[in-house]
């Protein structure tokens, strides 16, 4: 019995992990994929020089070490030896330089012997964390994309189906799984059915369904609340009247109700762009609706505005949230009209690109087309000031940070999800089916 029990928990090789996701990517180029589950799939094929651990600290990956020079404007990165791409060529500084130059046109990336040197115009204290972003994956671009990840592409049907085979030459050792099969474009309902029928081993769980999935006894792994739902205006306020109207709208939105009812507790009301778990100061931006502030701001509106609110019509939760905001806005004296076309303000869902707060804030600012924050020393004070400055543009209203989650069949072992969502599947293995 003892030996049997040990065998049940001991990793073993073999088997195919089947995953169903909603995304339907047409290719897996990390340069164009956004963070999310498509990106998570891409991380099976491609790797970055640096990876972040669960606390958001840079850890060696394809790079073994890095040193900053010239006050953080120059970085020297030493590459790991013995790494080969899936096309059989070895990873060297030339390949790494070519990949990084392609992903970061603003950087000066040079080869220095076996090392890679990166120079920036201003101090870049968070460059190692930035190197862990998906789009900084090291990719050899020949006829096909080649990576150094634990799996290689065995079959690819764009947007439908993919089979990844274990990379026998993986520098960290062959993964336990023989292959990973991905079904793309599966709806939440389809994924649940596939999981119940045992036709997939892992399926996404929408934030609003986490509570129910757990209540139904599913094996659910969830991340920290890392996806930001926010309202974004397409321009700066043009008048004091509009400024008061934006404030009234922001104060009127009952984010707690949205989280509790619409998202079924699948997130956290957000007053800041970065969640509290990543910044440590998120609590300072109170997210609750403030009726008294609504009245105050509404009293200063001379002409009630009428705006169009855009949302992703394919996302039912986005629709419900938008409709709730429409009601809240009416209470604030602001008339909103829903549209899925171009609009005055948009309801957006953005994944945090990194668990490093500075990198995450910078990426968010870029995604929201807000002024990029500047960091000199990477301190929390600097981060707080930068985020506050972004919020004071009145261009963005944070609403909720939501979690991501997967439901796994019991045979799936060592599935790890980082706090900001990425999957770490290199050590995953499949256990035996229960009789």
């Amino acid at each position: 019995l003892g030996s049997l029990a040990f065998a049940a928990v001991r990793p073993h090789y073999g088997g195919t992990l089947r995953i169903a996701i909603k995304d339907a990517p047409q290719n897996l180029d990390p340069a164009i994929l956004a963070e999310g589950n498509s990106g998570n799939i891409a991380r099976l094929i491609f790797e970055t020089l640096v990876q972040l651990d669960e606390r958001g600290h840079p850890q060696p990956s394809l790079a073994t070490s890095w040193q900053s020079e010239a006050g953080g404007q120059r970085w020297r990165i030493t590459l790991r030896s013995g790494v080969i791409f899936s096309d059989g060529t070895a990873l060297d500084a030339t390949a790494a330089v070519a990949s990084l130059r392609s992903a970061n046109p603003g950087w000066k990336v040079m080869r220095n012997g076996d090392a890679v040197v990166i120079e920036t115009d201003s101090p870049h204290p968070d460059l190692p964390a930035e190197l862990a972003l998906l789009h900084n994956s090291i990719v050899r671009r020949g006829g096909q994309l080649s990576g150094t990840g634990p799996f290689t592409i065995a079959q690819w049907l764009a947007g439908k189906h993919a089979i990844f085979a274990a990379n026998d030459h993986y520098w960290a050792g062959r993964p336990y799984l023989d292959s990973v099969e991905i079904d793309f474009g599966k709806s939440d309902r389809d994924q649940a059915m596939l999981l119940d029928l045992g036709k997939t081993d892992a399926a996404e769980i929408a934030p609003e369904s986490i509570h129910r999935a757990r209540a139904e006894g599913r094996n659910v792994l969830s991340s920290e609340a890392h996806e930001l739902i926010a309202l974004v205006f397409d321009r700066d306020p043009q008048s004091e009247d509009e400024l008061h109207a934006r404030n009234a709208l922001a104060f009127s939105i009952d984010a707690a109700a949205l989280n509790n009812v619409v998202l079924q507790g699948g997130g956290e009301p957000a007053g800041a762009l970065l969640p509290n778990w990543i910044s440590g100061y998120g609590f300072a931006f109170a997210p609750d609706a403030k009726p008294e502030h609504v009245r105050e701001e509404r009293g200063q509106i001379k002409h009630s505005p009428s705006w169009t609110l855009g949302y992703d019509a394919t996302d039912p939760i986005a629709r419900v949230i938008a409709e709730r905001i429409l009601l809240n806005a009416r209470d604030a004296g602001v008339t909103l009209q829903l549209t899925s076309a171009a609009s005055d303000l948009r309801l957006v869902r953005l994944n945090l690109a990194s668990s490093d707060p500075h990198v995450a804030l910078n990426e968010l600012a870029q995604s929201l087309r807000l002024p990029a924050p500047k960091f000199a020393d990477g301190s929390v004070t600097e981060l707080y000031a930068a985020e506050k400055s972004l919020l004071q543009t009145h261009r963005v209203v944070p609403l909720i940070h939501v979690r991501s989650a997967v439901a796994l069949r019991p045979i799936v072992r060592e599935w790890r999800t980082l706090p900001n969502g990425p999957w770490q599947l290199s050590n995953i293995w499949l256990g035996a089916e229960k009789p």
């Binding site: 109700a257 509790n260 009812v261 079924q264 507790g265 419900v320 949230i321 009601l327």
Partner: protein, 606 residues
């Protein structure tokens, strides 16, 4: 306007008025019949709407009632009964149930009226639903329902259920929209429309007008009718003239909610194309009838002209001829018309009368001419007798003296003979003179036309009689127009005529006076006037002045002015006199220019 034209106009007007009257009457009857049929069809369609409305209401009521006992309702009741109710699990409940129950609207609300779950607006949880109250209507009612896409009109039912202290309201409904309108089977040419009266109670929004078929083009044309119902909340009708050319009669019925607020307006439209086509046909027929009538009027007027106006026109022409002196024309006109055999109608009687009148006038004229001829001969005889008697009496006395002298001595006879012979010769010469003047009058020559300048002629006459005028202490005043064109006249005859007038004037002023000769000219005639300042003439003298052998002088023959008149008449002119007793007299000779004769005379003269 001639009688013929009047008759034509009268006939045409009669026909046109008749056709127009018939057209109007027939059109009015057709319209009345169409309106009656239209009203019946509209009433039938409205009745169908009410039946469908009631049927749908009953269906909604039944389903909502059933939902109050559903397991979901019980779950909500239990959740509502908790101290801190958590409705998060019911976000999609209402939508799921509404889909299953085929309800467009479904909301569950707690005993405070707060929405627990909403199918039409899931995000509305926590907001108050006005219909969730104990006094909600027991029967289905119309209600304006808010949705994220805007307001919608629905037929609702409200039911409640309770457990313990908890109470749950179920508010369900179906939408009154194009699909609802499409359930009506409207007869051909009819349609049903629905106006959702939201937002702007007194305005009109074209997008709120729903139709069972294609969207209503130019919906703004219905706006006045909508506003009328909005103001009065009563049934109203109007005929809409669409820009496409169609006419449509639309009857609007107000649809009110539980609190009698105007929520919708049912519009039943009926195309008036059938009536318009019929009206067009009536008008076409009227035009054809009118044209035929006009043609008939022309024919009838021609016939009437033949029967009536032509004899009248002939009579009118005959009267004009008679007035011009052609008495034979009058006799011909009165002897019957060429339009057919004489009849005994009024026109024939008029022609006969005209004929008799003309014949009588002709007889009277002949009798008058004969009388005047007899009178003239008598006057001539009297004048001759008078003229001849004066020289004959001295002749008789002279011869009697000679006879008495013959009985006395030879010497006395000789003396008497010589004296008597002289007397006899003188009187015989006098007789010859009398005879020659009568002979001269009877042999007045025809004028020989030449260009004559009236001013020169007047001046010559004045110069000729200058000595006589001076002797008679008469001043002569020539008032001649500055420029007078020559006229065609016989200068000798005209000189003689003016001289006669001057001599008459001299004789009329035995105590002296003033003689005035004037000349003037107008467009077609020249004038010469001879005025004296004598004792003037009585009206009777003026009337008889130009009668031959009439004279107011002791020794006058009465032929002087007759000769003047004869000369003027031979020139185609006329002479007149104006005088008052004591104020002198003025003789006016008017002579035509005779341009054709003048041109001929000038040609000859050249």
């Amino acid at each position: 306007m001639s009688l013929h034209r009047r008759l034509l106009l009268l006939f045409a007007l009669t026909v046109l008025v008749s056709v127009a009257a018939v057209t109007i009457i027939v059109s009015a009857m057709a319209r009345r019949a169409f309106d009656r049929a239209n009203d019946q069809r509209t009433a039938a369609l409205v009745a169908q709407f009410r039946r469908e409305f009631d049927r749908k209401g009953e269906g909604v009521d039944r389903r909502v009632e059933a939902l109050t006992t559903s397991s979901e309702a019980n779950r909500m009741l239990i959740a509502a009964a908790r101290p801190a109710p958590d409705y998060s699990n019911f976000l999609d409940t209402a939508r799921t149930i509404a889909d299953a129950q085929q309800l467009d609207f479904l909301e569950f609300a707690d005993d405070h009226g707060k929405i627990i779950s909403s199918a039409q607006w899931p995000a509305k949880f926590g907001y108050l639903e006005p219909a969730a109250k104990p006094s909600a209507p027991a029967t289905p009612f119309l209600k304006e329902e808010e949705t994220p896409a805007g307001s919608a009109l629905g037929l609702f039912a409200v039911r409640s259920t309770s457990a313990g202290e908890g109470k749950l309201y179920v508010i369900g409904g179906v939408r009154l929209d194009k699909a609802f309108l499409a359930t009506f089977t409207a007869p051909a040419g009819m349609r049903v429309m629905l106006y959702e009266n939201f937002g702007r109670p007194s305005g009109f929004a074209p997008e709120r007008l729903l139709a069972s078929g294609p969207a209503v083009q130019d919906a703004g044309q219905i706006a006045p009718l909508i506003r009328q119902v909005q103001q009065n909340s009563r049934e109203s009708s109007a005929v809409i003239h669409w820009r496409s050319g169609d006419d449509e009669g639309i009857t609007a019925f107000p649809l009110t909610g539980a609190d009698d607020e105007l929520l919708g307006i049912l519009l039943v439209g009926s195309s008036r194309q059938i009536y318009v086509d019929l009206r067009g046909q009536i008008r076409s027929a009227a035009f054809v009838a009118g044209a035929a009538g006009l043609l008939l009027a022309v024919v009838l007027s021609s016939w009437a002209a033949a029967r009536v106006t032509r004899p009248v026109e002939q009579l009118a022409r005959a009267a004009q001829e008679v007035a011009a002196g052609n008495w034979d024309a009058g006799l011909a006109a009165g002897s019957g018309t060429d339009a057919g055999p004489p009849s005994k109608d009024e026109i024939t009687a008029l022609a006969d009368s005209f004929h008799r009148m003309t014949r009588d006038l002709l007889d009277q004229r002949e009798r008058l001419v004969q009388s005047e001829r007899v009178a003239a001969w008598r006057e001539l005889a009297r004048r001759l007798a008078h003229e001849l008697k004066n020289p004959l009496f001295p002749l008789q006395l002279t011869i009697e003296n000679l006879l008495r002298a013959r009985e006395h001595s030879q010497q006395q006879f000789d003396e008497t003979f010589h004296e008597s012979a002289a007397t006899l010769l003188s009187e015989i010469a006098n007789l010859k003179n009398i005879v020659s003047r009568f002979s001269e009058f009877s042999r007045m020559p025809q004028p020989h036309f030449q260009p004559v300048k009236l001013n020169e002629l007047a001046a010559d006459v004045a110069k000729l009689h200058q000595a006589q005028l001076a002797q008679a202490k008469i001043a002569c005043d020539l008032q001649l127009a500055e420029s007078i064109d020559p006229i065609a006249a016989d200068p000798d005859l005209l000189h003689r005529a003016v001289s006669n007038l001057v001599l008459n004037a001299i004789e009329a002023m035995p105590q002296g006076g003033k003689l005035t000769l004037r000349s003037r000219q107008n467009a077609n005639a020249g004038h010469i006037e001879v005025s004296d300042s004598g004792k003037g003439l009585t009206p009777e003298e003026c009337a008889n002045l130009f009668t031959p052998y009439y004279t107011n002088k002791v020794y006058g023959t009465g032929l002087g002015l007759a000769i003047v008149q004869s000369i003027v008449s031979d020139h185609g002119g006329k002479i007149s006199v104006s005088s008052e007793p004591g104020c002198g007299a003025t003789f006016i000779i008017e002579l035509p220019a005779n341009r054709e004769k003048l041109q001929a005379a000038q040609g000859t003269h050249v």
